[in-house]
Symmetry: C2
């Protein structure tokens, strides 16, 4: 049980921050979830900011691992970006309920003017840079970052409306539109 309790806390906080939002989650909520006392809690994390910091670090690592795995498993950069867009389908039910874990956290911390804003934005940036790399591999050195931002923009927009309307058909349709856009973009790049 060396570091297990700490990990349990971070895992529970990660889930609760996503489901209820950072501010709306209290020490007591997390402690109850892990079934430990507040004193024990304090031994691992002195402030709420520290927990958020740990949660952000875990999320960053998780996503980096996922993206690394995709890079290993999927050969074509185009297919990799497609895989990214398909998260919206794979995680559809969670996103319908609570939105995008990355986007909603960035939005919330922005309103709170929280010190960990840069940390949360860093997760978004991880995706941005990964996408940029994929587009560079497709020979779009010049506008790789613009294309990456466009893909991000679409996924964030879809996530917000998926959460608002909880409409499966909409999500599927927009994912197909995004894929169609991707293909047509790449078609012009190979002809030029």
């Amino acid at each position: 049980m060396r570091k297990k309790t700490r990990d349990h806390i971070v895992m529970a906080a990660d889930r609760l921050f996503y489901e209820r939002g950072y501010e709306h989650t209290s020490f007591a909520d997390i402690a109850a979830e892990v079934a430990i006392s507040r004193g024990n809690f304090y031994h691992h994390f002195k402030t709420k900011d520290e927990i958020l910091e740990a949660v952000i670090a875990v999320r960053l690592t998780d996503r980096a691992i996922m993206l690394g795995r995709w890079e290993a498993e999927v050969a074509s950069p185009l297919e990799r970006v497609m895989r990214f867009v398909k998260i919206l389908i794979v995680n559809q039910s969670k996103i319908k309920q609570h939105g995008c874990p990355v986007g909603t956290l960035c939005t919330e911390l922005s309103k709170l003017d929280h010190a960990q804003q840069d940390g949360a934005n860093g997760i978004m940036d991880l995706f941005r840079q990964w996408l940029t790399r994929q587009f560079r591999n497709m020979g779009r050195e010049r506008d790789a970052d613009d294309l990456a931002m466009h893909v991000l923009m679409r996924s964030q927009g879809i996530a917000v409306l998926a959460n608002t309307y909880r409409d499966d058909t909409f999500v599927r349709r927009e994912v197909e539109l995004a894929e169609a856009w991707l293909r047509s973009e790449l078609a012009t790049s190979t002809t030029v």
Copy 2:
């Protein structure tokens, strides 16, 4: 001063809910902003939910008036939708700081599982229905709602990333892309 105090409260709450978020804004914050006592406050609004309800009502009315004005001022449905997309440019600095007033409220209330979720979603729906009407006027009866949702999705996605990265160039570029997409969509509809 018959209803002036009440209006002041709603106006201040409207701004603070937008800038700091609903939950992160307290009775004291609003009261201090309007420079009244909490007792006076309570006379106008018994619960925090009631203020939110009033704020949502005001926002809904404001947006409805704005959309009505656009319908009166701008003849072409295409130009009207363009006008909608251009909000992102006109309100750019606010959106960079605090995101989309509609989208961020829907997102926050979803996390709080708040009773006024439907109210906030109703503002989004006002835009959706207005956009749908414009596309119908362009002769796209069949997929008018899909196109409306696509426009909404783009503006929400742009707003989230504008808030995250605070990048003017990105916003301008994506607005132009949205306008280009609109034109190309309508070109196919007139040829069919």
